[in-house]
């Protein structure tokens, strides 16, 4: 079983949702980012999404845009992101780690080389925002053939006609983007999320994680009652933005992570 499958199965047995945390690799610099990454599991992160920085993050709001700029300013690149995963894996072999980003840096690195090195580094899955199922053969298919999960985003605009197409190539879990918009923007009501999950369940047995606009332990708890996973990104990244020192950045992210984890764990 893959790490993602194992983790979601365990949590299902414990009757609780997963806390899925997103941070951008190399934000604000390599060492601080690695310290955050290494601290996340102990702070209660069940699944880690690690952003691969890109100059043009078209689906991201201001917080993650700035994280990308900080990371690129500190000379983060794909090779270093994979190195960061290797270093993370020296101390953690259980927490699933998913790389998230845009296609161009992967395209430039070389798809085959990227997949091989991602697998070897201990990456469990990929979320590539601008890679719809129409282009499966370019990345999704070879990634899955190599044993990497390919996690798809579904959105409020993904109707019942399109859902099967989107889910066909999905594995690991399904990431439901609860609002049409960029990351860090407004949030959906629990009624809307509940209806959306019900609809998704009719189409898939994969775990469903919900993200976009979830910032507080209370919001996380509300979603954790409905979904298999709760994704938080921008709120964590704001802690890095607002930190005066690297220590404050690490502490800020991990403290919020712990609070979110408590919300998620006590939700049901």
């Amino acid at each position: 079983m893959s790490r993602l499958q194992t983790r979601f199965t365990e949590l299902k047995e414990q009757n609780r949702a997963a806390l899925v945390t997103f941070v951008t690799a190399g934000d604000p610099d390599y060492d601080t980012s690695l310290a955050i990454l290494k601290g996340l599991p102990a702070a209660g992160a069940d699944v880690i999404e690690l952003g691969m920085p890109f100059t043009d993050p078209m689906a991201d709001g201001p917080a993650i845009q700035l994280a990308n700029i900080r990371a690129l300013g500190a000379k983060q690149n794909l090779a270093k992101t994979l190195q960061m995963v290797r270093e993370f894996r020296t101390g953690n072999n259980d927490t699933p780690l998913v790389l998230m980003g845009y296609f161009n840096p992967i395209h430039h690195y070389g798809v085959a080389r990227f997949i091989a090195e991602a697998k070897e580094s201990g990456v469990d899955g990929l979320i590539v925002v601008d890679m719809p199922p129409e282009h499966n053969s370019e990345l999704c298919d070879p990634a899955q053939a190599a044993g990497l999960d390919f996690i798809r985003l579904t959105t409020p605009t993904t109707d019942d006609v399109r859902l099967p197409t989107v889910l066909a190539g999905s594995s690991g879990f399904v990431y439901y983007v609860s609002v049409a918009g960029v990351t860090g923007a407004g949030s959906a009501t629990t009624e809307q999320v509940s209806a959306a999950i019900e609809r998704l369940r009719r189409h898939t047995d994969l775990p469903i994680s919900v993200g976009f606009g979830i910032r507080t332990p209370e919001q996380a708890a509300a979603i954790a009652r409905l979904a298999d996973g709760v994704v938080v990104g921008s709120a964590l990244i704001d802690k890095i933005e607002n930190a005066a020192t690297p220590e404050q950045a690490v502490d800020g992210v991990l403290s919020l992570c712990a609070a979110l984890a408590e919300g998620v764990r006590n939700a049901r």
Partner: protein, 406 residues
Amino acid sequence: MTQSNLRTGPDANGLFGSFGGRYVAETLMPLILDLDREYELAKKDPEFIKELAYFQRDYVGRPSPLYFAERLTEFCGGAKIYLKREELNHTGAHKINNCIGQILLARRMGKKRIIAETGAGMHGVATATVAARFGLQCVIYMGTTDIERQQANVFRMKLLGAEVIPVVAGTGTLKDAMNEALRDWVTNVDNTFYLIGTVAGPHPYPAMVRDFQAVIGKETRDQMQAQEGRLPDSLVACIGGGSNAMGLFHPFLDDTSVEIIGVEAAGYGIETGKHAASLNGGEPGVLHGNRTFLLQDDDGQIIDAHSISAGLDYPGIGPEHAWLHDIGRVEYTSVTDDEALDAFHKCCRLEGIIPALESAHALAEVFKRAPTLPADHLMVVNLSGRGDKDMQTVMHHMEQSQQEKH
């Protein structure tokens, strides 16, 4: 003449060879598929065709003249040079050809809010114009750097009732404006139509914008036939995203006797790295929904383009151009800021036409090429826009070069 078949693309997935496609976030996929369906229906609908023709004629002012540039021809002492006068269109550039087509489509789809990105401001002005004409809300994204150098166009857009939103991200130029427009679109999926200004973006935009711009090439064929009784021997157009060029080139792609030349912006020179020449100085990659040639660094990060002309200041190029470059049908060359400025001045003095700095890139190529060609060589240059918007930039450069001389 050998018959080839280069005008049938893209395929159902929006691919020209390996270029194009639909690399967008899932939120946008249903919208893009919907747009594709609606456009396929509209372009075969006699009512839509009739209405488009009406607005092209009576609102845009088409056909634009194919003008024999006698003094330019004399000066060059070679090829016979014709200017396709797109700068005479309403709003002063070719951009309106596409805007009028897309706004009719937006109305047909019941969209009430129009968004667009703009670089030089010409597409923004053209979009604000058609939005005003059809009484639709209009929001234009424009980089802060571009706002600074194109203030007259910003004022025009506001006069026309559009809201101009400054984009500070990145270097505040066209690519950043496009990112921000895409972010708006994923947020306002229900009521908003994204009116892309060039032959780039996810399918169907590259094909649709090309189709609306192809009126340039179709008219040129007929006009050249009427004036010279035959096809031109060569076509020259400048390329940023590449819509004016694609519009002129497309109807001639299968005419193997017609030599086709696209001119990219070399900025300070390709070797300096400060340029906007995606084909001559970039590599294939994926940005803004399509696979094409991009300016990028060793890590696949996008590099900011540089050109004196805001309209060419984009690190990508339409995917159909990428394909035509790949198969060698079109020759893509480049000219520097200085060469374009020189051509700009010559065109003003020789023909009494102030060209846009974008179009001046095409003219610069003509000054290189025409003198080497025989007098019976018929060359068509797309004069894609007028230079009124560039007064500030040109003044600034003239002052700078004056100071350098002292």
